[in-house]
């Protein structure tokens, strides 16, 4: 039984008279004890998907159809959007790291007050001194000195703020940590350290981390499994190794090939064209206008995400056609 089962989920933003379907018919299973990466260009719906997994759905974002089931260690949640025990899940079972941590801390209060607010909201059965000990341990395991609690956010560097955010999200040992572009705003050296922290937390707590990045090189080093999103759909899901060795979807291939390689003298390629306007997506397979391999079926029918080899799913008529031919 998977930890999270996303079933035909569609969520859209309502703007004036348009509906922008940022998540369209997504089916995904997230397992225990794995690090799942979600890759894709800006605007493809990754952040929206993460927000809906967390249950953070506020206007103008609406869930149109579908649902998410959660199978936590001690209880099940069948529908997070109408769940009354949402408050017992948020931050205790699932936590969330937002994109860009520059301004997420209250500028007029010391850092320690934020953690005390967290304690007040989530762990009243731990008394304050025990909580503080837990907090200090967690901070030092992430390389943060105790004094950081007495500082104001504007006195801290970007890397320190990111670590504080990671500390806050892992503090109550949630079963799932959702991280939205946790390394995008950081220097390369700090990026490496932060990735290391994620690995460390994962190893210590055996939890699941879902991490979004538009930078494939970040995902290849951290994740056990990677899902690729394009224009609101998941187009490929596989173990990291097999995804990078044998990418099946043309979009994935182009993404991987656009990464520069050390010592390579290959010409750097981008992906031609631009992502579609999600208010008026193209018919059929959404990638077909930019796909070098598209044929007539691609413009008519939406390809379904199907398992093509072991632990490797793809939504592409090309592969499905080959499959059918081979079968």
């Amino acid at each position: 039984m998977s930890l999270i089962e996303i079933d035909d989920l569609s969520a859209c933003y309502v703007q004036e008279k348009n509906r922008v379907r940022a998540v369209d018919g997504v089916n995904l299973k997230v397992e225990n004890d794995e690090i799942l990466g979600i890759a894709g260009e800006s605007g493809c719906g990754k952040s929206t998907l993460l927000k809906t997994i967390y249950g953070y759905v506020e206007p103008p974002l609406y869930v149109e159809k579908g649902g998410i089931k959660y199978n936590f260690r001690d209880f099940r949640v069948d529908n997070i959007f109408s769940s009354s025990n949402l408050s017992s899940i948020k931050w205790k079972k699932i936590s969330y790291i937002t994109q860009g941590s520059m301004n997420v801390l209250n500028p007029v209060r010391k850092v320690r007050n934020f953690f005390i607010d967290l304690w007040k909201a989530h762990r009243q059965n731990l008394n304050l001194t025990d909580f503080e000990k837990l907090l200090k341990d967690r901070l030092s395991s992430l390389g943060l000195p105790e004094e950081v609690l007495e500082r104001y956010p504007h006195q801290l560097s970007g890397g320190m703020k990111q670590r504080i955010v990671i500390a806050a999200s892992s503090l109550f040992n949630p079963e799932v940590i959702l991280a939205d572009e946790p390394t995008s705003a950081l220097d390369v050296g700090v990026q490496l350290e932060v990735l290391g922290l994620f690995l460390k937390i994962h190893k210590e707590n055996k939890n699941t981390i879902i991490i979004i990045s538009h930078d494939m090189s970040v995902l290849v080093n951290l994740c056990s499994r990677v899902a690729v999103m394009y224009a609101g759909n998941i187009v490929e899901v596989a173990d990291t190794r097999s995804l990078f060795k044998t990418p099946l979807h043309p979009y994935t291939r182009l993404l991987i090939e656009s990464l520069p390689r050390i010592g390579g003298d290959k010409e750097l390629m981008g992906i031609p064209g631009a992502p579609p306007n999600l208010a008026f997506p193209p018919d059929g397979c959404r990638f077909h206008p930019r796909c070098p391999f598209s044929f007539d079926l691609c413009a008519e029918e939406v390809p379904v995400l199907t398992e093509v080899c072991e632990n490797h799913q793809v939504a592409c008529h090309l592969r499905l056609r080959d499959e059918k031919v081979e079968a």
Partner: protein, 285 residues
């Protein structure tokens, strides 16, 4: 640009619509004054203290004047007064704020100190002083004086707008492509300032009108000149409330409330329109 602003707001915002309609009523009343059969300066042409009737729609007062026609003049004069005061103060505020914000440095510090000096002036008292010295300020100069005293607050506003515009890329682009300072200010900055200009214009009208009412009630302005304030003054002088001539007070008070409410609604909705974040948060279907 102004036309599209107005058009959109009338459609979207109930408050703007209400304010707009109220304003139109008032402007209509003011325009009626041009067709008035009576001369606003003459007195005792009608029977005194008659309550509202078909002949005298808002009754008559103790000075033998038709309250209705007096109100049309009062509203017209009040609007003109507010317009003059607001226009003068906007110009000064814009000038001060732009120069101070754009040049910066020592000029900025000096100008801002002068600015602050004017903010601390208790305007009411200063105008009273002026009134005492110059005896019965007549209408037009009074409006100009209001303008000369009403700019400091908003010049800071314009200044901070200019400061933030200066830092934006559009300034650098314009500079590097060789635009002269003058054209940068006029062609690029000012269009950005239009909404703020409008909303502070209306705010300033409200402020100066309020001050006019206060001054007139205190008897410091040209009392023959019909405005909302002078009407209340005369009503008080003739003990209207005690004698039961309530319509004499009710008309200007109602006129004042409608005028102020209209202006206020307009200003608030323009303010919110100018601020894109609030528009976004209202959600839209």
């Amino acid at each position: 640009m102004v036309k599209s602003l107005v058009g959109e707001l009338v459609k979207r915002d109930t408050r703007f619509r209400t304010g707009f309609i109220l304003m139109i009523i008032i402007v209509f009343m003011s325009i009626l004054s041009f067709f008035s059969p009576v001369d606003p300066y003459s007195t005792y042409y009608a029977p005194v203290n008659r309550p509202p009737s078909l002949r005298y729609w808002l009754g008559t007062d103790s000075r033998g004047q038709d309250v209705f026609w007096m109100m049309t003049f009062a509203l017209k004069n009040s609007i003109v007064f507010g317009l003059i005061a607001a226009a003068v103060s906007r110009l000064i505020a814009l000038l001060f704020g732009t120069i101070s914000g754009y040049i910066g440095g020592k000029t900025d510090s000096v100008l801002m100190i002068i600015n602050d000096s004017f903010i601390t002036l208790p305007v009411l008292l200063v105008i009273i002083l002026i009134g005492m010295v110059f005896r019965r300020l007549s209408f037009f100069p009074l409006a100009v004086v209001m303008g000369l005293l009403g700019w400091p607050w908003d010049s800071r506003l314009f200044r901070s707008q200019i400061l933030s515009l200066k830092e934006r890329k559009l300034t650098y682009t314009a500079r590097f492509s060789g635009m002269s300072t003058f054209s940068i200010i006029f062609k690029i900055y000012f269009p950005h300032l239009v909404p703020v200009f409008l909303s502070t214009f209306i705010n300033n009208m409200i402020w100066s009108l309020g001050l006019e009412v206060t001054l007139s009630v205190l008897g410091l302005t040209n009392l023959q000149f019909p405005t909302i304030g002078t009407t209340i003054y005369w009503a008080n002088q003739h003990q209207a409330l005690i004698l039961g001539i309530w319509w004499w007070l009710a008309a200007p008070i109602a006129g004042a409330i409608i005028l102020f409410t209209a202006l206020y609604l307009l200003s608030v909705s323009i303010n919110e329109y100018v601020d894109p974040r609030i528009r976004y948060q209202q959600g839209s279907f």
